[in-house]
């Protein structure tokens, strides 16, 4: 049994080395032959129609750079679009929404929620009101609504890392506004 196993292993080894050597030859041919032809024809690529075109490395490099730049710009734009809070001018707001009973109740509830923040100092309230809308929203969700960063990320369709970053930046701003870290 041992001998048989040994023979099998040897056969496998032989076949694998044959395949490897064939692969190596293919790679070598693929790498060296085109370059050798390039050298023979004076560093110019020859198309199938017999026309020779010079290899423009700068244009290739710039095209690649443009592709990456445009792709990143698109990603940034789409991310910003997702994070943007939809707002409309007061003049364009439908009157029914402004005057309806439901809207008023919602407003009262919102104000009550704002009151429930229970700020110890007026300075903190002022600093909080000066924060950007996204940071306010993240802080409110974290500390008032007791939501986890994962839940907030899902709500705002952003990454958890972004939520942590917004939180730390907002707290830093609040500390700076209060001139020291004693209040928080």
């Amino acid at each position: 049994m041992r001998l048989l196993r040994g023979n099998r292993v040897e056969k496998q080894d032989r076949t694998s080395t044959i395949f490897e050597s064939r692969h190596t030859i293919k790679v070598c041919l693929g790498f060296f032959v085109p370059r050798a032809l390039m050298v023979c024809f004076g560093g110019k690529e020859h198309t199938m129609y017999g026309k020779s075109t010079e290899r423009d490395e700068l244009r290739g490099k710039f095209t690649k750079w443009m592709e990456v730049t445009v792709y990143r710009a698109r990603l940034n734009y789409l991310k910003a679009q997702r994070r943007r809070i939809d707002t409309i001018p007061l003049e364009d707001a439908p009157i029914e929404k402004l005057c309806s009973q439901e809207g008023e109740e919602q407003w009262i509830q919102k104000m009550r929620r704002a009151d429930s923040l229970d700020f110890e100092e007026e300075a903190l309230a002022a600093a909080f009101s000066q924060l950007p809308a996204m940071k306010k929203e993240v802080l409110t969700m974290l500390f008032l609504l007791d939501m986890t960063p994962q839940e907030i990320a899902g709500e705002l369709s952003c990454t958890v890392q972004y939520v942590y970053k917004q939180r730390s930046l907002a707290l830093k701003k609040l500390r700076e506004a209060l001139k020291g870290g004693d209040a928080l």
Partner: protein, 63 residues
Amino acid sequence: MTADTFRKTLTKAIRGSNEALADIIEMYMPLINRYSYVDGELDEDLRQYIFLHIFKNLSKFSL
């Protein structure tokens, strides 16, 4: 556009020539348009944003 002309135009564009920049942008318009589509529709704002992004970052390209 030959390789030499392209190099000259690109150098001018990086140094701040508006005409050269326009030539470069015109050359790459198909690429910009391709990336300006959102949900099958051309987004003009996105295209504008891409232009601005290119203008801002072109000076970072090393020849």
